[in-house]
């Protein structure tokens, strides 16, 4: 992506108005065949580790249940040889499947995520933006052998009379694979690299009510009582898009103290004298509506004001 020619990315291309730079470092371009950049966000290493631990817990609990079920079945059938065989075969296959097929099975579903990943809002995707194929899923999970089970076996086999130097070498060798995701910018583990996949955040978001709508409703109610807010041109030119989004967040969260503090700051900045019956919330609502109206009409003329330091 770093080698894109300037032609491919015209200077007018949409650039994020929201979002801290710290978050942008994990945002990647994903241009659909329709030519829209979906800007996917990669999963943090911590999120992936948490998802894996959840999955591991599910597998271990499953195995324990399976073991108890096998014992119960053995006892229940009186422990004759035929039933013993059947139970043993089921247990062996079950343990094998739990270890190897769990991840593959869940990642092949339309959600492309194990229960652990689903809980954290993650999913697997092909790095080239194309289809996530079955062989890619198989490859990324077959590599788990190297990333999880070899280090585990190594840890368990400690205490045998292995040379200290050999120990050290083994630890170094295992850590290369275990900590691989920390050392590349796309947070790829070895399996992702081999399969050409990565793990992205794909949370399910609900469509929230537009703050401008509630603000308008509030203002209409207010206007009925004869206390409409009218801002001058200079007053609505005080801020840019970034501040608008902060204001949006404040209004959505509806914490009385934050609202009072923010209202105070804005009044001081734009030189607004507080009316007698004016509530902080109504003032912020009205100012949000005015600011957004102003910025959006400028936007229609091709002028995006990023923040308050930008020229109005």
């Amino acid at each position: 992506m770093g080698r894109r020619s300037p032609v491919a990315r015209p200077p007018n291309a949409w650039t994020p108005a929201v979002g801290e730079p710290a978050e942008d470092r994990l945002v990647r371009e994903l241009v659909t065949p329709e030519g829209v950049d979906l800007r996917v966000r990669l999963a943090e290493t911590s999120e992936r580790a948490a998802a894996f631990l959840l999955d591991a817990a599910i597998i271990i609990v499953g195995l324990i249940v399976l073991t108890f079920a096998a014992i119960a079945a053995l006892v229940g059938t009186g422990g004759n040889e035929v039933s013993g065989q059947v139970v043993a075969v089921i247990w062996l296959l079950g343990a094998f499947l739990a270890r190897n097929a769990y991840f593959i099975f869940f990642e092949l579903t339309p959600r492309a995520a194990t229960p652990g990943k689903r809980a954290l809002g993650l999913r697997v995707a092909a790095r080239n933006g194309g289809r996530l194929t079955a062989d890619a899923i198989f490859a990324r999970n077959a590599m788990r052998e190297l990333e999880v089970f070899v280090p585990l076996t190594f840890l368990i086999s400690q205490g045998s009379q292995v040379d200290a130097w050999l120990d050290l070498l083994g630890i170094a060798w295992c850590s290369i694979f275990v900590f691989f995701p920390l050392f590349n910018r796309d947070r790829l583990r070895v399996g992702d690299m081999v399969a050409g996949t990565w793990v992205v955040k794909a949370p399910r978001r609900k469509l929230m009510a537009d703050v401008a709508e509630t603000a308008l409703a509030g203002q209409v109610a207010f206007a009925g009582r004869g206390a409409a807010f009218v801002f001058t041109q200079a007053q609505v030119d005080a801020y840019g898009a970034k501040e608008l989004h902060v204001l949006e967040d404040v209004l959505r969260r509806t914490e009385a103290r934050t609202i009072a503090a923010v209202a105070e700051r804005i009044r001081a900045k734009i030189g607004w004298l507080r009316g007698e019956s004016e509530s902080d919330y109504a003032f912020l609502d009205a100012y949000y509506l005015a600011l957004r109206g102003r910025l959006e009409s400028r936007l229609l003329f091709g002028r995006r004001r990023r923040d308050k330091f930008d020229k109005p």
Partner: protein, 335 residues
């Protein structure tokens, strides 16, 4: 008060219903599968997806409602993964794998397979020669658990008994399952270790050969060469072949990592990895057959001649299936 409403608010009001409909469809599709959608819904999906994508573009250019843009981004991404994601039916996928993908992957990795075979042979021959000269070497090559009293000190009668024992009869299916899961684990390891520039996989192949060679040497010293061949080969043809293919899959990844050629290293490893994964899928199928042959076939069939016949037949079947040229068009789309 309609004139007071912002343009972006009106924009949202006009399209909101479509977004919510798409969201409901995506929810439904993610919960079940593509099959859970009716024909009508399936046809509506791409249309709604494109409409939402265009809404996203417009919203980015004209709206300053941050929550709306976040929502559309997440909705479009989810719909994108579904619209352009893999939706081949499982049955087609499996048929494509057995008909084309697996043999094609095996053929493409023939050089690596030859290398694995050579390394295994190297291990087998050197271990054989060493044990023939000095039986003490046996314990170096074969861990105690695997030997089960089949060491060089055992008598000819005892060795013969291990070749034609029947005490496993009662637990054949358990033995077959255990052998399958154990061998599959080893094969997956051979594959995964290839990532470390082929070296550990190569070692694994040589070690595998050493165990084989040491066993052969012990039995041949006692004049049981023909019998041990039948005992070993009835499943060994399939199992050794599968192990070599697993090694080949590992080599393919390690080689692409070391020598990516024209492509970037990550791209080359990705392409090699996906192909090697197909091969590994096949290896697991072969190991399943080998487990059955070893756990059941070997215990049931006690005649050396028939064991050789089974071994030869399985060898011919695998070679023809994997390497015989086949007609037909280009490989089915994988997915």
């Amino acid at each position: 008060m309609a004139e007071l409403r912002l343009k972006s608010v009106r924009f949202r009001a006009e399209r909101e219903a479509d977004w919510l409909r798409l969201e409901a469809l995506v929810d439904k599709a993610e919960r079940g599968s593509a099959a859970s959608l009716t024909d009508e819904e399936l046809l509506a999906m791409p249309v709604l997806y494109r409409a939402s994508l265009s809404s996203l573009s417009v919203a980015r250019a004209t709206s300053l409602d941050g929550a709306l843009i976040d929502y559309l981004e997440s909705l479009c991404a989810r719909a994108y993964f579904f619209v352009y994601g893999a939706r081949t039916r499982a049955l087609d996928r499996i048929r494509g794998f057995f008909a084309n993908d697996w043999p094609a992957a095996a053929k493409a990795a023939w050089r690596e397979t030859v290398a694995s075979a050579a390394l295994t042979a190297l291990g087998a021959i050197s271990a054989y020669l060493l044990v023939m000269r000095d039986p003490e070497w046996f314990s170096t090559f074969v861990p105690g658990g695997l030997a089960e009293g089949r060491g060089p000190d055992a008598s000819t009668a005892a060795l013969r008994a291990t070749l034609f024992d029947t005490h496993h009869d009662q637990l054949l299916s358990v033995l077959a399952t255990f052998l399958f899961t154990h061998n599959a684990g080893v094969a997956l390891l051979a594959f995964a270790l290839g990532f470390a520039f082929c070296v550990p996989t190569a070692c694994l192949m040589v070690v595998n050969g050493c165990v084989l060679g040491a066993f052969l040497a012990v039995f041949i010293q006692h004049g049981l060469g023909v019998e041990v061949g039948g005992w070993l080969m009835i499943h060994g043809v399939t199992e050794l072949f599968a192990t070599m293919l697993a090694g080949a899959a590992g080599f393919r990844i390690g080689w692409a990592l070391a020598f990516p050629g024209e492509r970037t290293r990550v791209e080359a490893v990705g392409a090699a990895g996906r192909q090697a994964a197909v091969l590994m899928g096949g290896v697991l199928c072969m190991l399943f057959c080998a487990g059955l042959l070893e756990g059941v076939g070997r215990q049931v069939i006690q005649s050396t001649a028939i064991r050789y016949v089974v071994a030869a037949t399985s060898g011919v079947i695998w070679l023809t299936y994997l390497y015989a040229p086949r007609g037909g068009g280009p490989a089915l789309a994988r997915g």
